[in-house]
């Protein structure tokens, strides 16, 4: 059994009610306005979780949800223990049935299509992916369009190259099915709901 010094018991919200409300409003704003950056207060969590992805997890996960962890997180027993202790969420062994998937770095994004996409009748029964990134580009190479965006917006997470674009356009093509993506840097978050179209700026 873990003792009290275990990282699993540290961190989390100082104020669960208002901490999660503020976290949620940042996520809701991000989802409603794809490509815009929100700067919520993060929470302390064991590596490799960053403060903002940990905030998203604490805000949305509970005993009614399951969460799948990528190899970067899965190797760290602390992460699973921390999530279990603070949220009560079940750690999913099978990505295809998980409600939430945490990707500790963008390299694993190709697995998007293997996550739960929902059905035509219940497209809401799809996964929400929380992907950690190092930051967001000041001079993005991508242009996003879709619901929530007035005209278009330039947006690109740091360290995510163009190999993401075909993965995302495949996700977009499955609409109304599809995965929704929350991108979390150590200090900021942004979201890409399944409705957002992304293309290279140069292709204009």
């Amino acid at each position: 059994m873990a003792n009290v010094a275990t990282p699993a018991f540290t961190g989390g919200f100082n104020d669960p009610v208002h901490g999660s409300q503020q976290g949620f409003r940042a996520i809701m704003e991000a989802m409603a306005r794809p490509g815009t950056l929100q700067t919520p207060d993060g929470v302390t969590a064991p590596a490799p979780l960053n403060p903002v992805s940990a905030l998203v997890a604490l805000t949305l996960l509970d005993q009614d949800t399951s969460v799948w962890l990528d190899s970067g997180c899965h190797g760290q027993a602390d992460v699973a223990d921390w999530l279990s202790f603070h949220t009560g969420a079940r750690i999913a062994q099978n990505m295809a049935t998980a409600d939430f998937c945490i990707l500790s770095n963008p390299k694993g994004v190709t697995v998007l299509a293997d996550m739960a996409l929902g059905s035509e009748e219940y497209p809401d029964r799809s996964a929400t992916a929380i992907m950690q990134v190092t930051g967001f580009e000041a001079n993005p190479d991508w242009v996003c369009e879709g619901p929530g965006i007035k005209g278009q917006i330039d947006f690109q997470p740091t360290g995510v190259d163009d190999s993401f674009l075909p993965v995302w356009s495949q996700n977009r093509a499955a609409f109304p099915r599809g995965v929704d993506l929350i991108l979390a840097s150590p200090t900021q978050l942004a979201a890409l709901p399944r409705t957002t179209c992304i293309r290279k700026a140069r292709e204009m």
């Binding site: 104020d15 669960p16 009610v17 208002h18 999660s20 409300q21 503020q22 949620f24 409003r25 996520i27 809701m28 989802m31 409603a32 306005r33 805000t59 949305l60 996960l61 509970d62 005993q63 009614d64 949800t65 059905s119 035509e120 009748e121 219940y122 497209p123 809401d124 799809s126 929400t128 619901p147 929530g148 965006i149 007035k150 609409f175 109304p176 599809g178 929704d180 709901p193 399944r194 409705t195």
Partner: protein, 297 residues
């Protein structure tokens, strides 16, 4: 644990428990991601009857924070029973600031109207919805309407509008007028007058819809295409009024008819009370401004 517990001992902040809020929040995020699609949620019993806005109240409770300023309107009015009760409910359970001014509100919960004053980016409009399924009166079975949405099978709705034209010579639907979101889902805009439908299109504000009894949440993100269904030869038209507001003289706003006596006298005035008050404060006046009831006799 909860620093607010001392002030509101009997309630968690904004009444709902945290697990319920998380469940509603997850539903709201999926609703935003699939504009116009009705997300099922585990609606709770609230300390008010169904039909009094329990869906809207649950959505508001899930998003509301200590820094928010809340406005509640019922048919455009800030001072009818429904809006006063819900405003007081959140004053008591969340201790948030409330206002009647549209521009000052960060969250506006509404029953059947969209404010006349254009909404701004950052505001959230929460609708109370009685029957979220636009196809329900055409097809009573949930299993079938769900399939119709999945298959984008909306012909029946056009037949209904066509029957209006066949019977009345025009589309006679005046409220809960069906809209199509981003060319995909047909959605019930709640029983707002069709006058308000154009305001839903490309709105800078986020629009959330909560149906408590029917246990559905849906959403229209900002800057999203909302098109009222119609025909090429019978295009969508909003309600038009011959009168201006009797109190503030406003034109091009939605008017309520007020019966003044039993001799057939009546007046029309703004349904949006905040809009009307602000115009009068700014010096505008209508035909009956400043007159008592006896003036009509």
């Amino acid at each position: 644990m909860n620093p607010h517990a001392s002030g509101f001992a009997a309630y968690n902040f904004a009444y709902l428990d945290e697990q319920t809020k998380r469940m509603i929040r997850r539903a709201i995020l999926k609703a935003i991601a699939i504009p116009g699609y009705q997300v099922p949620f585990a609606s709770r019993e609230m300390p008010m009857p169904y039909g009094w806005g329990t869906g809207g109240v649950q959505v508001t409770a899930a998003i509301l924070g200590a820094d928010d300023t809340l406005k509640v309107i019922d048919q455009g009015s800030d001072d009818t029973t429904n809006s006063v009760s819900i405003r007081k409910f959140f004053e008591k359970t969340a201790g948030v600031a409330t206002t009647t001014r549209t521009a000052d509100a960060s969250i506006i919960q509404t029953r059947h109207r969209i404010p006349e004053e254009p909404l701004k980016s950052g505001q959230v409009l929460v609708y109370q919805v009685p029957i979220p399924e636009p196809l329900r009166f055409l097809e009573p079975r949930e299993t079938e309407t769900r399939k119709m949405h999945a298959l984008e099978e909306y012909g029946l709705m056009h037949v209904k509008l066509y029957e209006d034209i066949a019977k009345n010579g025009r589309i006679a639907t005046t409220y809960a007028y069906p809209v199509k979101i981003e060319g995909r889902y047909v959605m019930d805009p709640s029983p707002t007058p069709k006058f308000d439908n154009p305001k839903m299109n490309d709105s800078p504000a986020l629009q959330l819809f909560g149906a408590g009894r029917e246990k559905r949440i849906y959403a229209v993100p900002p800057h999203t295409e909302v098109v009222s269904l119609d025909f090429e030869d019978h295009p969508f038209e909003i309600n038009r009024f011959e009168d201006t507001c009797a109190l503030c003289g406003a034109e091009g706003v939605y008017l309520d008819e007020v019966i003044l006596d039993d001799k057939g006298n009546r007046m029309f005035c703004c349904s949006d009370t905040d809009h009307c008050e602000q115009r009068r404060e700014a010096g505008h006046s209508g035909a009956r401004a400043g007159q008592g009831l006896e003036a009509s006799q």
